[in-house]
């Protein structure tokens, strides 16, 4: 092959050559970063927002006192049935309590549990996960074993045991939720921390003499946030399902605080005559859980598609 260096070839004059950087701008249309808020975001987000508002302003919205009995009006059907009464839009239960008001206050209960539950679980889980991933060694061993062991227990059963052990109360429920659910966050946090730990900029930070804690806060955690947020949003549903399940069995939020789960339980005995007492709270639960899941799904597609399998 002839030596290419001795060969003459096209050599241009640079008069008409545009600045490379300018030219690159013309060949590449500016990509607007659209988040793409479609209905898949708005629908669940609005529903959740609505529930949150209802929970916050329960005192102003609820037409009746949720724990007040109007025995004379007990078992009134909801507005679309015969025999309904205008003042009880969604009917009353066997104690004459207004279902709508109970649903509204129930929203407060569920959302408080969900918010606090997810928040605490997220924090505890993430911290433990990062610790395990970053420090390694026996810290990791202990935490990983804990994760394995906790995973081995049937979720609901243990929650139930704990609920009975600790007694039914709001605080205890949240505690139980934290104990059961931190594992999910920890696992993800640990896995990602392990990855991030090996990355170049963490190496650099360490060489530069940064303390572990600083590195963790500045470099590791911001990268984790995406997946943790996704897990948290998806976690809202699981938390509410757990809480309502426990309340249904009588081991959750104690009466008289209205909880959607216990409302369902209340309606069981009168299912044949007053089906709405059990039906309506369940719809509420489903609405919130569904919205949480849809929103979490959307978030996952936007932030971190790799979590698809959760």
């Amino acid at each position: 092959m002839k030596d290419l260096e001795t060969m003459g070839g096209p050599r241009g004059d640079s008069d008409t050559k545009m600045e490379v950087s300018d030219a690159l701008k013309t060949t590449r249309k500016k990509k607007g970063k659209r988040m793409g808020f479609g209905w898949r975001f708005y629908l669940p987000a609005l529903i959740l927002a609505a529930f949150v508002l209802v929970a916050i302003f329960a005192d102003f919205i609820a037409p009746h006192n949720p724990v007040k009995n109007h025995l004379a009006d007990s078992l009134t059907p909801p507005f679309w049935q015969e025999g309904a009464k205008a003042e009880y839009l969604l009917g009353t239960d066997q104690m004459g309590r207004d279902i709508l008001s109970r649903l509204i206050y129930g929203a407060r209960t569920s959302l408080i549990v969900a918010a606090l539950g997810v928040f605490l679980t997220g924090i505890v889980g993430t911290i433990l996960g990062v610790l395990a991933g970053y420090k390694g060694g026996w810290v990791d061993a202990v935490i990983s074993r804990a994760i394995d062991v906790i995973q081995g227990f049937p979720l609901f059963l243990v929650a139930l045991v704990l609920a009975i052990v600790l007694g039914a109360s709001l605080f205890n429920i949240i505690l139980i939720i934290t104990i059961m659910f931190w594992v999910g966050y920890a696992r993800q946090a640990r896995a990602e921390t392990l990855q991030i730990r090996e990355s170049a900029y963490v190496e650099l930070a360490r060489i530069a003499g940064c303390r572990d804690f600083t590195i963790a806060v500045r470099h590791v955690i911001p990268n984790l946030l995406n997946s943790i947020i996704v897990i948290a949003t998806l976690g809202v549903g699981s938390v509410i399902l757990l809480e309502s399940g426990l309340s249904f069995l009588g081991a959750g939020i104690p009466p008289p605080t209205p909880s959607w789960g216990s409302m369902c339980a209340d309606g069981r005995s009168i299912l044949t005559t007053a089906w709405w007492v059990s039906f309506l709270p369940g719809v509420a639960i489903m609405a919130v859980v569904l919205s949480g899941n849809l929103l979490g799904d959307w978030l996952r597609d936007k932030l971190d598609p790799k979590l698809r399998d959760l």
């Binding site: 081995g152 049937p154 045991v161 069981r268 569904l290 399998d309």
Partner: protein, 304 residues
């Protein structure tokens, strides 16, 4: 392999300690069993009889020692060996859980494959929504509603209770399956999507293989690997029964048993059930590990 076994045993041990502690914490059964008027001597007698007067750690060792022999003591309220009670209830739970699991897999896996094949088309979108719905329904509510529709209004099916593999099984099984169908569906779909975009699937097409074979032989075979892990999880739940569903349908299984045991503070029974579940978990995981070796040749030869 050995490592996994060791880990399993460790988990088992820690599990039993936790279980022991938990059970003890549920309260003092003496309070429930004896009337308030019982004298201290009577309490003492009862305590001795039940072995509750010994120091805690001694109780633990007694517990472990017996457990190793498969003896979990006598249920405080049934007066029969715990192990016996558990195994008595097991068939009912298995019937429910097993049926639900098989049903879920038979339905969800093919549908999941279908969704993956029809990726991004309307069939896929509908199925995705379906799956999310399935995971959002509270099981107790679903059970109640099913009873309302099929037992109360239509009177096609019984509202609860037990019958061997007959119509009593249908509603509870449906309730239990809903969640796992959704789970299997999403998992299968996502695993298939991964598989179908690999180079080796493309190779199968390059060879000129019929699309059907490409999907089922090359695609699904690989996609099943992650699905199997989920199966393990479902299996454990199948064995343990769903406390909620069994409560709603008055199904005499382990779930219902657990609830009763808790209410009565029946230590031995509670312990027995919890240890049973942990042991089950360890066993099922081991079984899955073994299954993995068979399914995924890459695992088989890691010592090469």
């Amino acid at each position: 392999m050995i490592i996994r076994l060791g880990q399993g045993i460790l988990a088992l041990i820690v599990g039993t300690i936790l279980v022991f502690g938990l059970a003890r914490l549920t309260g003092n059964p003496l309070d429930l069993m004896l009337p308030e008027t019982a004298t201290p001597e009577q309490r003492q007698q009862m305590a001795e009889y039940l072995g509750l007067d010994k120091p805690i750690y001694q109780q633990y060792f007694v517990f472990i020692g017996n457990a190793a022999k498969g003896d979990f003591g006598r249920s405080l309220f049934f007066y029969r060996p715990v192990t016996q009670i558990i195994f008595e209830r097991l068939p009912a739970t298995l019937e429910l859980g097993g049926t639900a699991m098989l049903f879920s897999m038979l339905v969800a896996i093919p549908v999941g494959v279908y969704a993956a094949v029809k990726r991004e088309k309307w069939q896929d979108s509908i199925l995705k929504v379906f799956a999310i719905f399935g995971q959002s329904v509270p099981s107790f509510w679903l059970g109640i509603m099913l009873i309302l529709v099929f037992a109360v209004s239509l009177r096609w099916l019984p509202a609860g209770g037990y019958g061997r593999f007959d119509e009593h099984l249908i509603l509870p099984a449906l309730t239990v399956s809903t969640f796992s169908i959704a789970g299997f569906l999403r998992l299968t779909r996502s695993a298939m999507l991964d598989t179908l975009s690999t180079d080796y699937v493309r190779l199968a097409r390059i060879k000129g293989l019929k699309e059907r074979y490409v999907i089922w032989k090359h695609g699904l075979r690989n996609a099943l690997i992650p699905v199997i892990t989920f199966t393990g999880f479902v299996l454990v739940n199948a064995f343990m029964g769903s406390v909620i569903v069994e409560a709603v349908f008055a199904w005499p299984g382990i779930g219902q048993l657990s609830y009763q045991a808790l209410l009565w503070r029946d230590f031995p029974l509670i312990q027995g059930i919890l240890v049973f579940s942990v042991a089950l978990f360890v066993l099922v995981n081991l079984a899955i590990d073994i299954l993995y070796v068979y399914l995924d040749p890459r695992v088989r030869f890691t010592r090469d």
